[in-house]
């Protein structure tokens, strides 16, 4: 199987970081919802990579390309069922040069 591999540089602080994005296979998924829970909404501020954003319908969406895999969203939102959280497949995701 061939795997689509994209090296991306996300905006802001994240542009210095190295990532190997697993295209089309995001490791975190926000479950469909009408109105975000308090914790899910908090992620739009608290996620250190700003992966979570409100769309114009007031729902929270994720773009996990810049994720640093810290697990904050998992701690806040996995239990309540807001998100499905996994680590990226082996080798993919953030590649810290210094850590």
């Amino acid at each position: 199987m061939t795997i689509a591999v994209t090296k991306v540089r996300v905006e802001d602080k994240l542009y210095q970081n190295r990532y190997l994005v697993d295209s089309g296979r995001p490791h975190i998924i926000v479950r469909p919802h009408d109105k975000p829970s308090a914790n899910l909404l908090a992620l739009t501020y608290v996620c250190p990579a700003k992966c979570y954003e409100l769309n114009d319908k007031g729902q929270v969406e994720i773009t996990a390309d810049g994720c640093m895999e810290c697990g904050t969203c998992r701690i806040l939102c996995e239990k309540g069922g807001d998100i499905e959280w996994n680590y990226p497949r082996g080798g993919f995701g953030v590649l810290f040069k210094f850590g």
Binding site: G90, G91, L95, G99
Partner: protein, 434 residues
């Protein structure tokens, strides 16, 4: 790939490397799984490394380990918006043949540690995410499922060194997910500066290093800590606060870090630097009361995955290394008696760990996390402001009689916290500290 190992170690951080190295050097057949491209590529730490705990694993580590600077000076700052006060300790005694503490860069250090693990005889499989524990009909852990094709591997015992947010232990119900009030989210930047500039700014020469750790208004009333560690040609600068506080205040971690960098006490130290990385990581902060069950049929948990972090002394990697080593030594003992890796036999790990500084230290501070969590605005905002006010009142010469200055300072403390509040804070702090 059906192959039976003596032990599978999940994760190649400090605890996993310590465990894998110890097991392999005693001749056990060890498989270590690491999801990163190379060991260290997923690992984040400040980072300070304590020599004593590594010496117990690799006594001659100084010969080739990538070490940045040995610490001769530590500054503990209490900050308000425009100032800092605090304690500095610097000693030439720290310039010794075998220094006590070093700054390290984890991605580099972990590569070195992993090389040692491989040299000791372990098989290290990178780019492999462990997805699930495999258990037999009786619930005994017998292996690990990975994301490689057909990727189930079997072992007599699995060492879960999967880090604070590891998936396997929580998914298998061996430990609970950390609660938001028992983990801190830390963000960090790597600021590069010429070696001599760092030397001048921090008053250090050669490989000498200096660290600053700071509490106060930089954490905006959240329970948190800022830090600045000097590496050879870079400065690690970051701040961490409890996840529960972040969620309640909706503060942005990156904005918090930027504000800290702009503080008049910090800004000149990093002026002109080139930032080469931005990282984020969770730190276990729950202390003794958050430690999960550490062992069971066919498994042990070590390091951050076991919440083994001393938040008060900001020690983590040494507890991780020690727990990994001790778990490995327990496994080696069980194996040497030809006993199976049952819960009853692996209880030896906990007995040995209880007898070490790891559990003794965490037990000492068992009430601190709750105290700091529930009183964060006092300890991280009110008191820092009061201390700064008191210091400035003491230093500034403006013709006010000293007796009035002292009355001002006392009144400020009483106004802010009341007599009862001051006494009760002091008592609770003393009780939690003892």
């Amino acid at each position: 790939m059906i192959e039976q190992f003596d032990a599978i170690v999940v994760g190649a951080g400090m605890s996993g490397n310590a465990a894998a190295y110890t097991l392999a050097s005693q001749g056990l057949k060890v498989l270590q799984l690491e999801r990163g491209e190379y060991p260290g590529s997923k690992n984040v730490q400040g980072a300070i490394m304590y020599a004593n705990m590594l010496e117990k694993i690799i006594p001659d580590f100084r010969d080739d380990a990538p070490l940045e600077r040995h610490l001769v000076e530590q500054r503990l700052w209490v900050m308000d918006d425009t100032s800092h006060t605090g304690i500095h300790y610097r000693s030439d005694d720290f310039n010794e043949a075998k220094p006590n503490r070093y700054t390290i860069i984890r991605a580099q250090f972990d590569k070195w540690f992993s090389r040692k693990v491989r040299e000791a005889g372990a098989t290290v499989l990178c780019e492999t995410t462990a997805t699930e524990l495999v258990r037999d009909g009786n619930g005994k852990v017998i292996g690990v499922r990975t994301d490689r094709a057909g990727g189930v591997v079997f072992a007599n015992v699995v060492v879960l060194a999967e880090g604070v947010s590891g998936l396997l232990g929580t998914r298998a119900g061996l430990r609970e997910m950390p609660k938001p009030e028992t983990v801190a989210l830390a963000v960090k930047e790597m600021h590069f500066l010429p070696e001599e500039v760092i030397g001048q700014r921090f008053g250090v020469k050669g490989d000498e290093g200096c660290v600053i750790e700071a509490v106060g208004t930089i954490s905006r009333s959240m329970a948190g800590l800022g830090f600045l560690y000097t590496n050879k040609e870079s400065i690690s600068l970051g701040i961490g606060c409890l996840v529960s506080d972040f969620a309640a205040t909706m503060e942005s971690p990156s904005a918090l870090l930027d504000a800290m960098k702009n503080h008049p006490s910090i800004r000149p130290l990093i002026a002109g630097s080139e930032v080469k990385e931005y990282a984020a990581h969770l730190i276990p902060e729950g202390g003794y009361k958050a430690i999960p069950q550490l062992f069971g049929d066919g498994w042990v948990i070590v390091g951050d995955a076991a919440q083994l972090n001393n938040a008060i002394h900001r020690e983590g990697s040494n507890l991780a290394m020690t727990s990994g080593r001790v778990a490995a030594e327990a496994i080696i003992k069980v194996k040497s008696r030809n006993s199976p890796m049952t819960k009853a036999n692996l209880a030896l790990y906990k007995t040995m760990l209880d007898d070490s500084f790891v559990i003794k230290d965490l037990k000492k501070y068992k009430d601190m996390p709750a105290l700091l969590h529930t009183n964060s605005s006092n300890f991280f905002d009110s008191y820092p402001r009061l201390m700064s006010h008191a210091a400035q009142n003491f230093m500034r010469v403006d013709g006010t009689p000293k007796i009035e200055k002292e009355k001002n300072t006392t009144a400020a403390f009483i106004n802010a916290r009341s007599r009862w509040g001051l006494v009760s804070d002091a008592v609770r702090l003393a009780l939690a500290w003892r």
